[in-house]
């Protein structure tokens, strides 16, 4: 077990190293010279050379790479060209809304999707099953910017229950920040509930056909106990995986929702950085997202270990 953990953690470092290298290469593969692109067409060659020197772009590529790695190991991901701040600081400021949004929207998605998914699987083939699946598909196929706008219009502007957008400003209390996350979380949660619903339903359908579910029924327990105790625990294992991976995806991938609600999150940051050719920030975002993926993967694997005693590492 501890050998397994050591191996997994070493593996994580290898992945992070690879991601660092890929981020380095990708950014340099982008067409054009970053310095001239950043300064625009009106810059003099002298200005461009100065910036190149400041960015270290005049040095041999291998030296650049090693410097980049050495700095990264020390937690220095460079300085944002746009914000003129260390990349780590820029990222840190954006991480909270993104991580919380991913977390809350998954909670919303799970609350909507799992009961319906379980129910639909249990009533497979009935009109109720078909209706709930179709409704979920419809709800999920409404683009999140539209759902978001509808919520803003009715729940925020008209009823005033929630803030319309933003994250409450720099000095906002945690409670205020949470308040600003309610509508974005519901919006994103609805979008993601379809995937989780389909997954829960499929997983439950598989399990409900298992011999041990028949055994459970033969023991004379209520259908409720059969489904919620004997089937759901087994069906939950694959669901954990999807939820974990969706979480990693959402942390940097909730661009549309972050845009609509004007949340200062990582998705927004990444898109802005790409458009502004703020390469250090692009690199930094890639690395953070990779790290989250790796961590979530490890966490789900460890959870498997706890839930399913057949799994041995």
């Amino acid at each position: 077990m501890s050998r397994y953990l050591t191996k997994r953690i070493l593996g994580m470092f290898v992945v992070i190293f690879l991601v660092l290298s890929i981020a380095f290469v990708l950014v340099r593969l982008a067409p054009g010279d970053p310095a001239s692109l950043m300064l625009g067409p009106d810059a003099t060659p002298q200005e461009v050379d100065d910036l190149r020197a400041r960015l270290g772009l005049d040095r041999p590529i291998l030296v650049q790479y090693l410097t980049f790695l050495a700095n990264a190991v020390q937690g220095d991901l460079g300085t944002s060209l746009f914000f003129n701040q260390p990349v780590t600081q820029v990222l840190a400021g954006r991480a909270e809304p993104s991580i919380l949004l991913a977390l809350f929207s998954l909670v919303v998605a799970l609350v909507i999707a799992t009961p319906i998914g379980i129910w639909a699987a249990y009533r497979r083939g009935t009109p109720g099953d078909q209706m709930s699946v179709t409704t979920a598909m419809l709800a999920a196929s409404v683009p999140s910017f539209l759902t978001g706008l509808i919520f803003q219009r009715y729940l925020a502007t008209d009823l005033g229950w929630f803030p319309v957008s933003g994250y409450g400003g720099p000095d906002a209390s945690f409670a205020t920040r949470l308040e600003h996350l309610v509508l974005p979380s519901i919006t994103l949660g609805i979008t993601n509930s379809a995937l989780i619903l389909r997954f829960t339903r499929a997983s439950m359908l598989d399990i409900l056909g298992e011999d041990y579910v028949r055994t459970a029924r033969a023991k004379g327990m209520s259908e409720r106990r059969v489904v919620l105790r004997h089937a759901l625990k087994n069906a939950g294992i694959p669901i954990i995986t999807v939820v974990g991976l969706t979480f990693a995806l959402l942390v940097s991938g909730a661009v549309v929702t972050e845009r609509v609600f004007n949340l200062p999150g990582m998705g927004n940051l990444a898109v802005g950085a790409v458009l502004r050719r703020d390469y250090p920030v692009v690199q930094g975002t890639l690395i953070v997202v990779a790290a989250i993926y790796v961590l979530v993967n490890l966490a789900t694997d460890l959870l498997y270990l706890v839930v399913d005693k057949r799994v041995k590492y």
């Binding site: 041990y212 055994t215 033969a218 023991k219 005693k309």
Partner: protein, 329 residues
């Protein structure tokens, strides 16, 4: 001692649409006395499992009992008409009244719960005992089914056990509430021969000690000879012959039974002896012939067989559904 605890009469089970169901059981009738074993035999697809699931009230989705009676008497002597019980009353009977073990010990236990949890759950569902008492009873039961180191095995998971051990766990679970009737659907088919013999021994011993009746499903006539007091032979969803085990082996009165018996390998074969397979195969349920379903494969078939014949008593306690039963015997 010879009171009847289970009577099945004219049981008919269909799958699919109510208007035009596929009829899996056409006419199943048998009776089982307290403390005895009835073997239900027949080729694959003859409806043995469907019969047992109908008794348990566990027919898969789409399956429904269309006609017939299933009368069951519990340990307290109360008679239940299984077809008329409410789902809740029916559920309460599963475990303390009728309980069941299945063919597949590898997949019949839940992989995520310890065997102790799964056996103890029976007590949790049907008796009022605290956790400590449940655990004690569970360990006792594991000892009763001869699992070595029961006190430690109680906390292990099914995947840590062999098929034979898991079937013992299934038996422990099925028996812990002391059911009046144990239904065993091919409980040893998935096990190898030595383990099979041990499990059969165990079941016989428990039956004697606890005084339960067993409905034993198998297609192995050798096992029938070893386990059964009475035998019901099924063909294409109907019982075609019913008799005491000795009577049936001595004087089979249905050509199908005779075919089944002729196809048992002789443990001590003469040099020129051959197995005699029954020609042809079971017709699909949707294209059964008119009258006797066995006629197309029957050496004695004649036009009169198309009129069909129901199970009738040919000799005391010996029933057969064949117009030629005298010639067969």
């Amino acid at each position: 001692m010879s009171e009847t605890i289970l009577t099945v009469e004219g049981l008919r089970v269909g799958f699919g649409r109510k208007a035009s169901p596929v009829v899996a059981l056409r006419d199943v009738s048998f009776a089982l006395k307290r403390g005895e074993t009835l073997a239900l035999v027949g080729e694959s697809g003859s409806g043995k499992s469907v019969t047992s699931l109908a008794l348990m009230g566990l027919l898969p989705p789409g399956g429904q009992v269309m006609a017939g009676r299933m009368d069951f008497t519990d340990r307290a002597g109360t008679r239940h008409d299984l077809t008329a019980l409410t789902p809740t009353r029916r559920r309460a009977l599963r475990g303390p009244g009728l309980s069941m073990i299945f063919q597949e010990p590898m997949s019949s236990l839940n992989p995520l719960f310890t065997v102790g949890d799964q056996i103890g759950e029976m007590l949790l569902l049907h008796e009022t005992l605290d956790a400590k008492a449940r655990r004690r009873r569970t360990i006792e039961m594991l000892e009763l089914v001869e699992i070595p180191g029961a006190a430690n095995r109680v906390d292990t998971y099914p995947h840590e056990m062999s098929g034979g051990m898991r079937q013992r766990v299934m038996i422990a679970m099925a028996m812990i509430c002391n059911p009046a009737l144990l239904i065993a659907d091919e409980p040893t088919t998935a096990l190898d021969v030595t383990i099979q013999a041990q499990i059969l021994d165990l079941m016989r011993r428990l039956q004697k000690d606890l005084g339960m009746s067993i409905l034993f499903i198998t297609h192995d006539m050798g096992v029938v000879a070893e386990m059964a007091d009475e035998v019901a032979v099924m063909y294409a969803g109907a019982v075609v012959e019913r008799a005491g085990v000795l009577d049936l082996f001595d004087r089979p009165r249905h050509p199908y039974t005779r075919g089944l018996l002729a196809s048992i390998p002789d443990p001590d074969p003469k040099p020129d002896e051959r197995l005699v397979p029954i020609p042809g195969s079971v017709p699909p349920l949707t294209m059964l012939p008119k009258g006797c379903a066995f006629a197309p494969r029957c050496p004695l078939a004649e036009p009169a067989c198309e009129r069909g014949v129901s199970l009738t008593e040919k000799a005391p306690g010996h029933f057969a559904a064949c117009i030629h039963s005298e010639e067969v015997a």
